[in-house]
Symmetry: C2
Subunit: 250 residues, 2 copies
Amino acid sequence: MSQQRHGSTSGGSDRANAVPAFPDLPEATIARLPEYLRALHNLGEGGADTISSEGLAAAAGVNSAKLRKDLSHLGSYGTRGVGYDVALLIEQIEYVLGLDQRRAVCLVGVGNLGHALAGYDGFASRGFKIVALFDADPTKVGERIHGLIVHHIDELPQVATEETIAIGVIATPAGAAQAVADELVGAGVTSILNFAPCVLSVPANVDVRKVDLAIELQILSFHEHRKASLTALPGGRSATGAGNQEAVGS
Amino acid sequence: MSQQRHGSTSGGSDRANAVPAFPDLPEATIARLPEYLRALHNLGEGGADTISSEGLAAAAGVNSAKLRKDLSHLGSYGTRGVGYDVALLIEQIEYVLGLDQRRAVCLVGVGNLGHALAGYDGFASRGFKIVALFDADPTKVGERIHGLIVHHIDELPQVATEETIAIGVIATPAGAAQAVADELVGAGVTSILNFAPCVLSVPANVDVRKVDLAIELQILSFHEHRKASLTALPGGRSATGAGNQEAVGS
DNA sequence: CGCGATTTGTGCACGCCTTCACAAGCGCCT
DNA sequence: AGGCGCTTGTGAAGGCGTGCACAAATCGCG
Ligand SMILES: NC(=O)c1ccc[n+]([C@@H]2O[C@H](COP(=O)([O-])OP(=O)(O)OC[C@H]3O[C@@H](n4cnc5c(N)ncnc54)[C@H](O)[C@@H]3O)[C@@H](O)[C@H]2O)c1
Ligand SMILES: NC(=O)c1ccc[n+]([C@@H]2O[C@H](COP(=O)([O-])OP(=O)(O)OC[C@H]3O[C@@H](n4cnc5c(N)ncnc54)[C@H](O)[C@@H]3O)[C@@H](O)[C@H]2O)c1
């Protein structure tokens, strides 16, 4: 989820002022919208014109009531007795998420992980485009990866003036992440996706999301540990095929 | 996953010190423990013997009250007026997370991403060890990556009998993920970390966590969209920056 | 034209999580 | 010994999210 909400915790005003184009969606809802969107695309390719909340919920791995409530936050785009128009709903969700406008992404740290990310087509397929790669290692600068040339990190300000970069992805070692974040912020980046295992400090108007594999594994480890300590008296396995899924979370 | 929240283990049994099966920690707390652990290791290397909740909270990017409440769930390992003993707390958290026992991990799908994951030392540094790599592509089988040989996916059952594999990591295309998950479950894996953008269906006793880059980017995109539609100017800068994605309980 | 089947949208209750605020505990200094 | 400052641990309040259950809305059909 997001770490820094709107900065004003004590500011009494707020509330109901923001009427830009859409209401303030619950953070939990926002985190699920991309999942719905993916499910909708799959369904659309399967030839479905409309889909019920039950069906879409199953495809997205969530409760149908939750899905309906989530979608109700965007407005009423369903038809009672029928379901949701797949194409219309895709359009709406993409609009709310701001996916209708191409967003420029830059990637800093073209190492093991960065290399994989640079070639990931999951970026482009959702309106994101990697416009620049950066690294501090002179031996990597100039290298061509998936059609992009690796720039030196010092060139970031200049590249940023040529093209407005909204999102920066950090794939450097943890020790360099804060410095990189500072440079990204200085270059005008307002959203950061951080793969380095460390806490980043950024201005309040910058959003940071973190992906940490080690944390995911440790959470799984805890559940393994717990499961192992319950084997004494398991009480039976339920063979339900119910899928259960952790969300990301945010 | 299932939520058994009956009062089963309640009662007045206070297992304040040491060992056995532990209380049910809130899922939110579990997700933060690894972050505390990382911060503690950093602090420990910095030479600190004790750390206050305020200091540790800052290092982990959370509220200090939250941190204290989280730690209180594990028992009382702090000293009022002084703080927490770094080494002791590390030991306790590692125990609770089950990191004191080495957990065998296997990785399925040695492509772009899988290749990077196979070489990631963030696994080993927390008690995890990749014991096997699998892929379906005959041209990749036999390849040696970071000291490990890539096996064909069909060999999974056999390898699993040689070594108990607790955790499986899926880094295949989405279309193959469910089939791979089924095979992992069949081989006795009870925890899965899924990088493929799809919903997995597994038995109730298997935990699944999902990491989806595209979702992270889309959430950032939403906030970009929102920020762009607000022409107001924000205020100061805050020093928080933890990212944390949350999720629902397993 | 009305009726039943179907599905959305939502009021409501419940439980989890966060955060505040403070008493209790601990060490140190005088 | 006693006071004082510092820090933990926690009770309580409030907010957020979830899921149930149902009224309202819509379609198809006789
Ligand atoms: N490899 C993985 O599977 C994986 C998984 C999860 C998280 N991570 C994390 O992602 C980060 C990168 O991992 P990796 O395995 O790719 O490491 P890596 O060492 O292979 O790559 C790091 C890259 O960052 C570059 N770099 C270093 N300092 C820089 C700076 N100041 N500015 C720009 N570039 C700089 C290096 O030159 C190198 O190319 C690490 O923080 C790691 O913990 C890696
Ligand atoms: N590359 C990235 O940066 C990135 C980032 C996030 C998520 N992902 C996701 O991770 C997954 C892998 O991405 P990638 O870029 O490495 O793809 P890739 O095509 O490079 O690698 C996929 C690998 O899986 C193997 N494979 C296919 N079917 C298999 C099966 N049934 N059993 C075992 N192995 C099988 C393929 O042979 C291939 O080696 C995809 O689902 C992708 O969406 C990738």
